[in-house]
Symmetry: C2
Subunit: 481 residues, 2 copies
């Protein structure tokens, strides 16, 4: 049993009032009744919100793709700071974030033998380039990452390694994503270590469109990046069929991409000041960068927009919340959570002031579930937040941990309590990291539900009497991610 589950079970007991004998521990964190009444107003306002749509439309239309380190990355930061200012955020600033810059110039590929067929594919982030004019080699196909791990170097050397599985099914909780992203993250380095010329995999996505899913890979220290690409799912099906019918099969890959020095971008931070001046804040946001194939609407313009709109709604209340609401537009999430890691490093010493964090980074569809990782004596406060969200269709799993989201995972790891607001990802993984990540995929009614949920959750957390347990190293072993 994980520690968080034990805590959750205990706090559930406390919350029901069935175990008064245990209540003699630390003072319980509570949510004042007055705040709950205000939360009802915010909930109603969130459901009528237009700001999140306006921000999502503007970022995806006026700027579009925002690959970390690109010219649009800078434009997006300027846009974000200007929006925070225009919306009346009290503090607007940036914190520098440095990372290796990866660029994509062009990409193409084909099956060249025993049949000739063009392939819809896309280079993975951190992929190396092919030689000029492309690379042609025989395919070494594997059913799984484990099968590749078990292969001899001789079976792989000089070949294009293809990992054909897993196939991703449609799930509300996106449960299959981890299996596929593991192949994407680890496969290319493993293939390179065995002497492969290149690496391709089935897209990590649940769709059947010829829009391949990019995403980051990483090469172990000392391993020279090889060309690495994802085939669209129909193209993976085609390659599977060709391999089943006859062998050997040869591919041509022509990827012009690669690392290009170091870049310094920034997290852009907008804050609504609380009425207390203790420096405590509730942390929220999304990531400002996106992959370059689409316009980054659901990954993650909508997350930026939802959390900014929620903070803005709170700022319009007659009275400011007790604590500040800090919205962070994180830098370069896609290539490895650089913005989140930099934030954690910068704010590690004062992590107790980040009372709890909740980030939006799984699209624009409705929030279906709340989980949290907090100290046991704050579980009652989470219960009250959950109750305030229930009318919005949000369920509560008190036994599961919650880091607060991908960009907050590093901040959580250094000790911030986390509140995870899980979205329905049934549609998300059809479009995630593809050319199809565009504004038309955003449903304004579901977007508004997100704004309402964040406004309520952020506000109630900011009004809580008592903290959620944030402290250096507090949740190092809770298993949340």
């Amino acid at each position: 049993m994980r520690l968080a589950s034990l805590f959750a079970g205990l706090s559930a007991l406390l919350a029901t009032g069935l175990a008064p004998a245990f209540a003699a521990g630390p003072a319980a964190t509570t949510i004042p009744d007055r705040a709950l009444a205000t939360a009802e107003t915010l909930r109603a306002q969130g459901l009528k919100d237009d700001l999140a749509w306006t921000l999502t439309e503007d970022l995806t239309t006026s700027i579009g793709p925002r690959l970390a380190g690109s010219a649009n990355d800078l434009k997006a930061r300027e846009w974000m700071a200007a929006r925070f200012r225009a919306l009346g955020f009290d503090t607007v600033r940036t914190e520098p974030v440095s990372y290796p810059k990866w660029v994509r110039r062009s990409e193409s590929g084909a099956i060249v033998a025993p049949v000739a067929q063009t392939l819809a594919l896309t280079a993975l982030g951190n992929s190396g380039p092919t030689p000029k004019g492309g690379l042609t080699a025989e395919v070494a196909a594997f059913a799984s990452l484990e099968a590749l791990q078990a292969a001899t170097d001789a079976a792989v050397r000089g070949k294009i390694v293809y990992v054909a599985n897993p196939r991703m099914s449609v799930r509300v909780d996106g449960a299959d994503y981890g299996k596929g992203s593991r192949v994407r993250s680890r496969g290319p380095s493993l293939a390179a270590q065995k002497g492969a010329a290149a690496f391709v995999l089935r897209s990590v996505g649940s769709d059947n469109n010829r829009t391949p899913h990019t995403g980051v890979t990483s090469f172990a220290d000392g391993v020279t990046p090889i060309p690495a690409a994802a085939l669209s799912n129909p193209d993976a099906d085609l390659l599977d069929t060709v391999l089943r019918r006859s062998a050997p099969v040869s591919l041509r890959l022509d990827l012009d991409c690669g690392l290009e020095g170091e870049y310094t971008g920034a997290n852009v931070i907008g804050e609504i000041s609380g009425r207390d001046d203790a420096g405590e804040y509730v942390l929220t946001g999304g990531h400002l960068d996106s992959w370059d194939l689409g316009t980054g609407a659901i990954d993650d313009a909508s997350g930026i927009a939802i959390t900014t709109a929620a903070a803005h709604l709170i700022a319009q209340l007659p009275e400011r919340p007790r604590r500040s609401i800090r919205v962070v537009a994180f830098a370069n999430e896609e290539a490895g959570l650089y913005g989140g890691k930099a934030y954690a490093e910068n704010h590690r010493a004062e992590i107790a002031k980040a009372v709890i964090g909740a980030e939006s980074d799984a699209g624009a569809d409705r929030i279906v579930k709340l989980t949290a990782t907090v100290k046991p004596s704050a579980r009652g406060a989470i219960d009250r937040i959950a109750a305030a969200l229930a009318p919005l269709g949000v369920t509560y799993d008190a036994a599961a941990p919650g880091s607060g989201g991908s960009d907050l995972s590093a901040v959580h790891a250094v000790g911030m309590a986390g509140l995870s607001l899980h979205q329905d990802t049934s549609r998300y993984f059809e479009w995630h990291h593809t050319a199809n990540d565009t504004l038309d995929k955003v449903d304004i009614e579901q977007l508004r539900q997100n704004v309402a949920v964040y406004a309520v959750a952020l506000y109630l957390a900011a009004e809580a009497e008592g903290d959620f347990g944030s402290a250096p190293g507090a949740f190092a072993k809770d298993g949340a991610n």
Copy 2:
């Protein structure tokens, strides 16, 4: 009231036996009871068929895209003739078909002002090229083809005309397709006549993928082809948003494509000989060419496969049907029904021998409805065919005409009776004419239902006692298409 409807109403009366006074006309065409019993066997065999899948897989995997006049066009004809022979068709031959050859070399586009965004677009068949290095011009946007028609030359001259509508909704009968394809067919020529530099339209498709829908356009005599392209629906949405937010808007198009002389391909014909030697036959088939963006699985490898598999099933019966079954793999349907028109011209004089025709060219999903255009005294035979198809979920609209399908429209127009087996096109128009037209879109169970329907319908028509009214000029005005 259309003539066909009048006929249909009259024949419905005849079929019910409520109007015996009218029955003193020509002898009614009938379907023998023995043939109906055999049809039940075919129906069951069709539902277990694997041949249609095998053929669809093989054509889309071993050859793939089959743009008329391309190297793959020839490969596909050789493949088709070889398959007919291998399957034991009694006669295999070709009939030449000539047409202007159009080629696509490369294509790209972007919004360049007031924002910079890459556009997913594809040139229309018969599109002219842009100048080398591309063409940049201001957009002249119109809500409809009618609005473009009403525009002055001055409003259009030198600009890139954009027609923003219609949007296509998902319909079982694909009813919206005609509205969109009218813009695609006529818009570019109209824009060129008014002096436009180029033409773009919203894709004629019901999806929200960044896979634009190509399709043919045509330029009036004496009009020089201008560059003409379809934007994917999300890209049309983006352009709409940009136009709504600010004007003027400029696009860059770079289309390397155009007409390249005359090409002579062929219709490939495989025939199962009937037991009578009167030379009469039932005509079926699909088109062998496809657009080049996908592998032409649902448009129209599946049509070729369904009708070939149905004819092959009939050929395996202990006794051949009375009339022959002729399967035609038509040439260059996509650029203007060239194969169908050539067939009609070649066989015009002996059209009475083509007793009825039914072609498959709307994907691989299940057949939901039967309509027919036949002489009134053959309506009873159609009623019996419809009854034999009812267990397969096929409804019957006796009042609507049926030409037999797109490739047969020209043959129908010179006098062949038509039997139209309408497929569910809810999914078809998501993928039609896009890169997404690939094998994974074919559902083997629905494909089998098609084989069963065709096997039953073709067999019963071949066994009919009496004809369906095919004669020179017989159905010139029935309104079927």
